[in-house]
């Protein structure tokens, strides 16, 4: 193969990389409405917060984040959602480490982290977001639930 063809191939690979990156930027973190209308069972989730087992949902809404230890972007999402919880009283935020709890990942069909579920006051899954959530989308969903 001559140098021209080589450049064309390398250029195409470069273009593919940029296309994937741009598509990812655009689509990731938008989320979708959850149609299963499943209620989360906190006694099965067994998640602690500040050393205490969580047994009640937030008054208006609960944000459930699923993380793993190998997830580079989870700590950032954890910080921003904690901030949100700090500002709004009717909102509970919990973070579930599923590195060793693949049963949970299978049950909720989670294939990437972070994944964030937005629950209503009764613990029903209303919305799910894979990837780093876009802030405006979280806000809009929380407003619908009357949590902001």
């Amino acid at each position: 193969m001559g140098p021209d063809a080589t450049l064309i191939w390398a250029g195409s690979l470069f273009a593919i990389a940029i296309a994937i990156g741009t598509a990812f930027r655009f689509f990731s973190g938008r989320g979708r409405r959850d149609k299963t209308s499943e209620c989360i069972d906190l006694s099965k989730l067994k998640v602690g917060k500040n050393g205490v087992l969580v047994t009640e949902f937030g008054k208006k809404t609960t944000l459930v984040q699923f993380s793993t230890q190998y997830c580079g972007q989870c700590p950032g999402v954890r910080r921003s959602l904690s901030q949100l919880e700090y500002r709004h009283g009717a909102l509970l935020y919990i973070d579930v480490d599923i590195t060793n709890r693949l049963d949970l990942a299978a049950h909720f069909s989670i294939s990437q982290t972070p994944t964030v579920f937005i629950l209503d006051g009764l613990g029903e899954i209303k919305f799910r977001i894979g990837g780093v959530p876009k802030y405006a989308i979280i806000r809009a969903e929380l407003e619908k639930l009357g949590a902001l």
């Binding site: 193969m1 191939w9 690979l13 990389a17 990156g21 793993t68 230890q69 693949l102």
Partner: protein
């Protein structure tokens, strides 16, 4: 659990940028004079292996970053857990091993490995997207990875 190492998140991305340059050059050569591509693949293999196994050895990337890049940047907004980038290096190493081995009898394998390493490193460096970390849960769930 051992003490967590926290690192400047821009370090791994700087390294990924260099890796992506190596990888796309290797990809280009692999279509032409592929022996050069194979040589670059050995270099990438050595670099990945060093960051996966060389616990107390200063990696050339981190030397460059600390010596020339870090002093020109402002303080990091936040430090990051070192496990996700470390996992990403392991994924990179497995691609480099594939490329190095297939170079003995199947030159196309070198092209494939170079393409994947380029994609992963480029997306990590310029879009902040860590493919290996994204796939971690999926790989665990279909049983390709263990703890």
């Amino acid at each position: 659990m051992t003490e967590l190492k926290r690192i400047d998140p821009r370090g791994p991305r700087f390294g990924a940028a260099i890796t992506s340059v190596f990888a796309i050059i290797a990809f280009g050569f692999s279509l032409d004079t592929w022996v050069y591509a194979w040589l670059i693949m050995w270099v990438l293999f050595a670099l990945f292996a060093l960051s996966v196994f060389g616990k107390n050895i200063t990696h050339p990337y981190s030397y460059l970053f600390q010596k020339f890049v870090r002093p020109r940047l402002s303080a990091p907004a936040e430090l990051e857990d070192s496990r996700p980038p470390h996992f990403a290096q392991q994924v990179g190493l497995s691609f480099a091993v594939f490329g190095v081995i297939s170079g003995f009898f199947w030159p196309l394998g070198v092209t494939i490995a170079a393409a994947f390493i380029f994609l992963a490193a480029f997306l990590n460096a310029f879009f902040g997207l860590c493919l290996g970390c994204q796939m971690y849960l999926g790989l665990r769930r279909i049983g390709l990875l263990r703890q």
